[in-house]
Symmetry: C2
Subunit: 334 residues, 2 copies
């Protein structure tokens, strides 16, 4: 079995098939569940790699981006006040404004932020898009590199070509072997086999541990988990609990990627049907299996790892639970 189960009244009602790959930086698969080679769009899990050129090219330093703002460049955020202010600040530091943003407008994911916006008589804008930090960072990258920032989201723009180069660099695949498509926020997204994605995270984490620029991105995420997600988000709560042991990033359609700091290990998770409710449960099981979090921490993350199913009256009528074990090879944790 490689599933996450949705249980109602003691009976399994629905099952999500889960695929997991754990690799080291040399591309050795240390553990897996399901089909570790399933072709997977990284979606927003690619954001830590997409933020790297800001550091590596000195753009973040030149524009004076704060560590929290760098974390926001890696975020799928809730549109809370800090996130919106952070995206505006990145744009301001780069000498740009919101009119350059090419993500679509949507209401803040945070229901209280959405309500506050409505009560203030404002309409949701592109700045509230959950990817606005990444987009602001891409505009800053373009301006910092001397590229025309207009339409930075299109595949033939130097920004997106640089993003593709990062995926090639960390995955080790040739560009021609990486299917692309248009992401929910309008930029290019990239697909690789799941185990290759895990290996990319292992190499990225290892580079950071070795003092390379990736370490600045990872440190920004683990130091400012709120900026990577927001209130109630799994990424935020996991990094709040785990401290600097791990960095994790959700991707749309049931994806997670992450790296274990100081251990040279990366992992990637794909829920076959794209279900977010299942990938968050799977993430907690994977982190526990890899000894990143202990049982007390698993308990503190129960709302993500073993959430209750409630009905419209608020009564608990079931649960979502991981129904797989991650068989870990002995070399993990070496």
């Amino acid at each position: 079995m490689n599933s996450v189960e949705v249980v109602r009244g003691g009976t399994v009602e629905s099952r999500h098939a889960v695929h997991v790959a754990v690799q080291d930086a040399r591309g050795r698969t240390l553990a897996s569940v399901g089909d570790p080679s399933v072709l997977t769009f990284h979606r927003s899990a690619a954001k830590p790699m997409q933020a790297l050129p800001l550091v590596e090219e000195g753009v973040a330093a030149r524009f004076g981006l704060t560590e929290a703002e760098l974390a926001l460049c890696c975020a799928s955020h809730e549109g809370e006040a800090e996130h919106v202010a952070g995206a505006r600040s990145i744009l301001a530091r780069a000498g740009a404004d919101e009119s350059l943003l090419r993500c679509g407008a949507h209401a803040p994911y945070s229901s209280s932020a959405a309500r506050a916006l409505t009560e203030a008589g404002e309409r949701p804008g592109r700045i509230h898009n959950n990817c606005s930090g990444k987009h602001a960072g891409m505009i800053a990258l373009a301006l910092g590199m001397g590229w025309d920032p207009v339409d930075y989201h299109l595949a033939d723009h130097p920004v997106q070509r640089r993003m593709a180069d990062e995926v090639v660099r960390w995955s080790g695949l040739r560009a021609e072997a990486i299917p692309t498509a248009v992401d929910g926020c309008g930029v290019v997204c990239f697909a690789t086999p799941l185990d290759v994605m895990a290996g990319a995270f292992a190499r990225y984490t290892g580079a950071g541990d070795a003092g390379e620029p990736a370490g600045e991105v990872v440190r920004a995420m683990t130091t400012h988990p709120f900026m990577v997600g927001g209130t109630g988000r799994t990424c935020t709560d996991v990094m709040d609990v785990a401290g600097d042991r791990v960095f994790v990033k959700l991707g749309a359609e049931g994806v997670y990627g992450g790296g274990l700091r100081g251990r040279g290990i990366g992992f990637a998770i794909k829920v076959e049907d794209g279900g977010r409710r299942a990938v968050e449960v799977a993430l907690v099981r994977v982190l526990a299996s890899l000894d990143v979090i202990d049982s007390e921490e698993v308990g503190r993350l129960a709302r993500h790892g073993n959430p209750a199913v409630r009905n419209t009256l608020g009564d608990v009528v079931g649960e979502i639970r991981a129904a797989f074990e991650l068989p870990v090879l002995s070399s993990v944790g070496d």
Copy 2:
């Protein structure tokens, strides 16, 4: 393969496993996809059977329920004005009021209805719950039968015991063989193997065709499709297009059930992971395979059977498509 595929830029990004069973009234499986015996909570797909006692016991006639109101008793509705007014009317005809409702409050599913409610300074109430028609019908049943209507949603109340009797009657299973749980709206829900569910729909449809009271429920649904769902709902659009050839009902967690009028055939669909986006796609494929709808009608139902995936800018970036065939035995359509 028994899947519905979510495609992004020409690459399959996610896959939903789909199970389908088609039976006749004698319980012969005429066609299937995946595992036709998968244990399946009927959820709201049970509503046509749950509405039947209103007709059979003469309660609908005694209280003067309209045909549209009977259709609303079978609905998972959008909370549009007609649905809310209908639920209030059912309660008024029975001499009851909204305070008896035991479903939870939630905003109308229809975004325009939800906005209108906010603009009117009203808060979402239990009457806006998508199951309020069924709940109003259950209260009417209790009052019509001389039962205390208070807490009609609990498993030991005569209303819920009668609902269980209907599931036993149409499924042919013993009550002890039918797992139960609490539904999203607070009433009891029932699980049977998927093929048994299909057989139940076949028998129910056949009874209606033979002039039994089930026919009144089926006719109410096919005559008033809007009351069964609302603007943009798959149930509504399918019955709008197919006329009186078929009645269909969505259930939560990726379920559909339905019956082919005049053909003695029932079907049931379960998406293994509970994904609604997949079961609606599967439904259109199943109805086309069973010659319930022709290719022109499949085209008119494309927003349900082959919907576009759009990004936050509104651009089409992919599609959801059925990737299974329903092998139909020759006896179908006899």
